[in-house]
């Protein structure tokens, strides 16, 4: 009996996976300055709790410094500041989302779920608090529209590696 159950469960899992491969994609939904944003999970290597950061001087204000993730040195970027939404206020929910060796500080992880392709929309010109270039597209999610971030633009190395303008 037990064996049967297992097989059934596995099949369920597989169905789910197949769905994802088909016409939907998984996204991480997270809260930033009171709003929900989303990132394609393919951009994310891991998520960890906020941890101590070593400040690196002379960088742009939103480059908070570096942190040690199991011996690896990871750059930390304050996503709120990057979007001009003020500095993140740390609390126990603050998390780091690691993408491409850069950790993004976010206020809170909401959930990871898949969004069907039919629910994705072109980005709109109005009503979004952040600069349009950071918006890849929009997703309808629980009857609202959520911004899906363009990671390449958010992590544009040329832009974020600049030095602070003056002392």
């Amino acid at each position: 009996m037990e064996l049967d159950l297992d097989t059934e469960m596995n099949l369920d899992d597989m169905d789910d996976d197949l769905l994802v491969i088909g016409d939907s994609q998984q996204y991480l939904f997270f809260i930033l300055a009171g709003d929900i944003y989303a990132i394609d999970v393919n951009n994310i290597s891991e998520m960890i709790e906020y941890q101590a950061i070593t400040k690196v001087p002379l960088m742009l204000p939103y480059i908070k410094g570096v942190t040690n993730v199991r011996g690896k040195i990871i750059t930390v970027l304050d996503l709120r500041e990057r979007f001009g939404l003020g500095e993140t206020k740390l609390n126990y929910k603050t998390s780091l989302v690691i993408t491409n060796n850069i950790a993004l500080i976010i206020d809170e992880v909401h959930e990871v779920t898949s969004v069907e392709e039919s629910n994705l929309k072109e980005s709109i010109n109005f009503g979004v608090k952040i600069e349009r270039r950071f918006v890849k597209n929009m997703a309808s999610y629980n009857n609202t529209h959520i911004v899906i971030l363009d990671c390449d633009e958010v992590l544009n190395i040329k832009e974020i590696s600049q030095k602070r303008a003056s002392k």
Binding site: V56, M59, V66, G71, K72, I73, T75, I160, S161, R164
Partner: protein
């Protein structure tokens, strides 16, 4: 690319380099037996391994070269200057061939033409008889009249696979040189599944090969694996040899296998009792054999004579002696083997390891060290037994990491010697006579550094020859010897490696550099630059004082790249020059890139590390001195003026809150600066990690390191800090 191919490529690289070194040596010192031998062996080795991979183009090409060298070796042909140049061209062509073929590309028509020409020129040097002989040899190979049937018995040593060779390629080669008539895999040595080690080749083969080859040529097939296999090769029609084979293999099943596979008739194998003895008989035979061996040994003859009449009534004492004798004899055989193989190949004393593997080890070592110091912090009691053990562990770990570090160190000589040819070629091309002198070849440097410094050095050497050393007639006109001299030196100096390139040419023209710099706008007209600052201008992009652009230099690109490369290695470069007497470029490099002994300190909220090799001393800045600073950026230290650099200010930190500040006096080359910092935290050995691309443009900080607490400290780039101070 497969692993075997990579090994092949690496091997070829080495062989080609050896060849080039020997050829260049020939150019300057004339041909000697050893250089000719080196080249011959190199060509032969490349030919052999290329054959294993089926690169026929390389084989054919190398073959012609090998022939000529064989004649030279035997004294039939003398070596002349043109011949050496020809060989250098051949070496280049060989390199092209190897690179193309290993990348699975076809030769272009032009390259084929080059190869063809070279072969023709090579053949031009061959004595007539040799060519004829070649032809005669060629004919039977096409008609296959006297193809011989060879029996080849192979057993692979248990670590055969670790050599990177595959059994498959051996058989491919068989099919290339001839036809495999019969093959019998020997599988009875394969243990049962529980005992099997999948990395060991338990299999063996008995092969009958039809090929038009001599015995030594058959043996040549195995040249590259001969140390990793047991071979027994003989002509198939020789039935006695089969008996020998069966007896030396000491495999009781072999006889039946040979008979079943129809290598031989049952009747041909005589004295079966010798081959498959019963247990009791076995002992007897072994003893008999021993006795026979004793006969050979004259000293023991008497004892043996006494014993010989009674068959096997040996008491234990004598038995021991016999065993001893046998051992001695075995040793002699072993020694002989070693002696005979020695001239062929040097004993393998080095190990080839992918350098990235060492990097991984270093990384883990640092993780282990960090974890270990973390344990110590957690115990918080160094006196306890656990504490002592952890401290002991720390020492052991240091040994290990020192050892690993040492693996990365290589002598600069190999890489320097590569320049010899380029220097002589360059000088020849522009009609200059240059004596190129290398010293300090034994200086050891991190492999990565050696690799990355090679191109910049080459560039500067070319510059020295092109711009520095004058034409012979100009030199004579200035009262200098016609032959110019370029020195390439390496030595260690207080924790750094110094590489100098010095020429006795015309020196840098200060005014012309300045004029050029003003012309292209990189320097203002009313400047107040010192000589060394002006010389440094040659490292800025787009500045070339050469009147004409030659193939070698003068395009004004390059020197800026050189400088950047050196800075990437945490090094610095300086120029000294005297008009009419020459110039000297001094490059300073850290010993290794991977690890630094550093001094930990704090400025503001961040911890920093200064490489210990850059620190001269630490002094305290008292409140009184602080006041006496009075806005100046220097203080008096024992009568010397010490320029100060306030790190807080530089890094945009808030004003200091601590009352006492410390000064760390750092130096790089000849420059000294006092760094104003908050707190000194002590020595710290650390692995340098990259901060990541986001921080690429951040100057003054070269990397980061993870501390025992898990915190990250940033590493100062002292050379850059000093420059920043001087730029104001």
């Amino acid at each position: 690319m497969t692993e075997e191919l990579e090994i092949f490529l690496e091997d070829c690289d080495d062989q080609l380099q050896m060849m080039e070194d020997a050829l260049v040596d020939m150019q300057s010192n004339g041909a000697s037996e050893s250089t000719i031998g080196t080249i011959f062996r190199a060509v032969h080795t490349i030919k052999g391994s290329a054959g294993m991979f089926g690169f026929d183009d390389i084989v054919t090409f190398a073959h012609t070269g090998e022939n000529l060298f064989d004649s030279i070796r035997q004294g039939d042909v003398g070596v002349c200057e043109e011949m050496i140049s020809l060989f250098l061209l051949c070496k280049d062509h060989m390199e092209v061939l190897i690179n193309l073929l290993t990348e699975d590309k076809e030769l272009s028509a032009a390259q084929k033409e080059v190869g063809h020409n070279l072969i023709q020129r090579l053949e031009g040097y061959l004595p007539r008889a040799q060519i004829k002989e070649e032809n005669i040899e060629d004919i039977p190979s096409t008609i296959v009249i006297e193809a011989a049937k060879w029996h080849i018995s192979i057993r692979f040593h248990k670590d055969f696979f670790t050599t990177g060779m595959s059994i498959n390629s051996v058989f491919k080669f068989f099919n290339k040189v001839g036809k495999v008539l019969k093959i019998q895999p020997i599988i009875y040595n394969i243990p049962s599944i529980e005992d099997i080690n999948p990395l060991h080749p338990y299999i063996g083969f008995e092969v009958c090969l039809l090929a038009d080859l001599s015995k030594s040529e058959v043996e040549d097939i195995f040249e590259f694996i001969q140390e990793d296999v047991d071979l027994y090769i003989f002509l198939c029609d020789d039935s006695d040899e089969y008996n020998t084979l069966v007896s030396i293999r000491k495999e009781p099943e072999l006889k039946n296998e040979l008979i079943n596979a129809k290598f031989i008739d049952e009747d041909t194998l005589i004295e079966p009792e010798l081959i498959i003895p019963t247990v009791e008989e076995k002992e007897e035979i072994v003893l008999n054999q021993k006795e026979e061996e004793i006969v050979l040994n004259q000293k023991e003859e008497e004892i043996v004579l006494n014993q010989k009449e009674e068959e096997i009534v040996l008491n234990q004492k004598e038995e021991e002696e016999i065993v001893l004798n046998q051992k001695e004899e075995e040793e002699i055989v072993l020694n002989k083997k070693e002696e005979s193989s020695e001239p062929k190949k040097k004993a393998v004393s080095s190990l080839r390891v992918d350098s990235s593997k060492i990097d991984i080890l270093i990384n883990y070592m640092s993780e282990i060290s960090i974890t270990n110091s973390r344990i110590l912090t957690l115990i918080d009691d160094e006196g306890s037994e656990i504490g002592e053990t952890v401290i002991h562990m720390k020492q052991l770990l240091e040994f290990v990491s020192d050892g690993i570090m040492d693996m990365r160190m290589v002598k600069v000589g190999d890489s320097f010697n590569k320049f010899r040819r380029i220097v002589s070629d360059t000088a020849k091309k522009i009609g200059k006579d240059v004596d190129f002198v290398i010293s300090g070849e034994d200086t050891e440097l991190d492999k990565t550094v050696v690799e990355r410094i090679s191109d910049p050095l080459l560039h500067m050497l070319r510059n020295s020859i092109d711009h520095g050393v004058e034409l012979p007639e100009d030199r004579v006109a200035c009262g200098k010897p016609a032959q110019g001299r370029v020195d390439l030196r390496a030595y260690q100096d207080s924790g750094t490696i110094v590489i100098e390139i010095e020429d006795n040419g015309k020196g840098l023209d200060r005014d012309r550099i300045l004029a050029k710099a003003i012309e292209n706008g990189s320097v203002k007209k009313n400047n107040n630059l010192s000589d060394s600052e002006i010389y440094k201008l040659i490292f800025s992009a787009g500045l070339s004082t050469a009147e004409t652009v030659s193939a070698i230099s003068g395009r004004g690109v390059g020197m800026d790249v050189v400088k950047r490369n050196i800075e990437d290695l945490r090094g610095s470069v300086e120029i000294e020059s005297t008009i009419g007497q020459g110039s000297k470029i001094t490059i300073r490099l850290p010993l290794t890139l991977a690890v630094i002994d550093g001094f930990l300190l704090q400025v503001g909220d961040t911890k920093y590390i200064i490489p210990l090799e850059n620190i001269k001393e630490c002094i305290e800045l008292t409140t009184i001195e602080q006041e006496s600073l009075n806005g100046n950026e220097f203080i008096n230290v024992r009568g010397e003026v010490l320029p100060l650099l306030d790190i807080r200010l530089l890094l945009g930190e808030n004003k200091s809150i601590t009352e006492r500040q410390n000064i760390v006096i750092v130096y790089f080359g000849k420059k000294i600066v006092g760094l104003l910092v908050d707190e000194l935290l002590g020595e710290h050995q650390t692995v340098i990690k990259s901060l990541g691309i986001v921080f690429d443009q951040l100057s003054g900080i070269s990397g980061a390191s993870v501390l025992g607490s898990g915190e990250i400290a940033l590493i100062f780039d002292v050379a850059r800090l000093i420059e920043l101070r001087n730029e104001g």
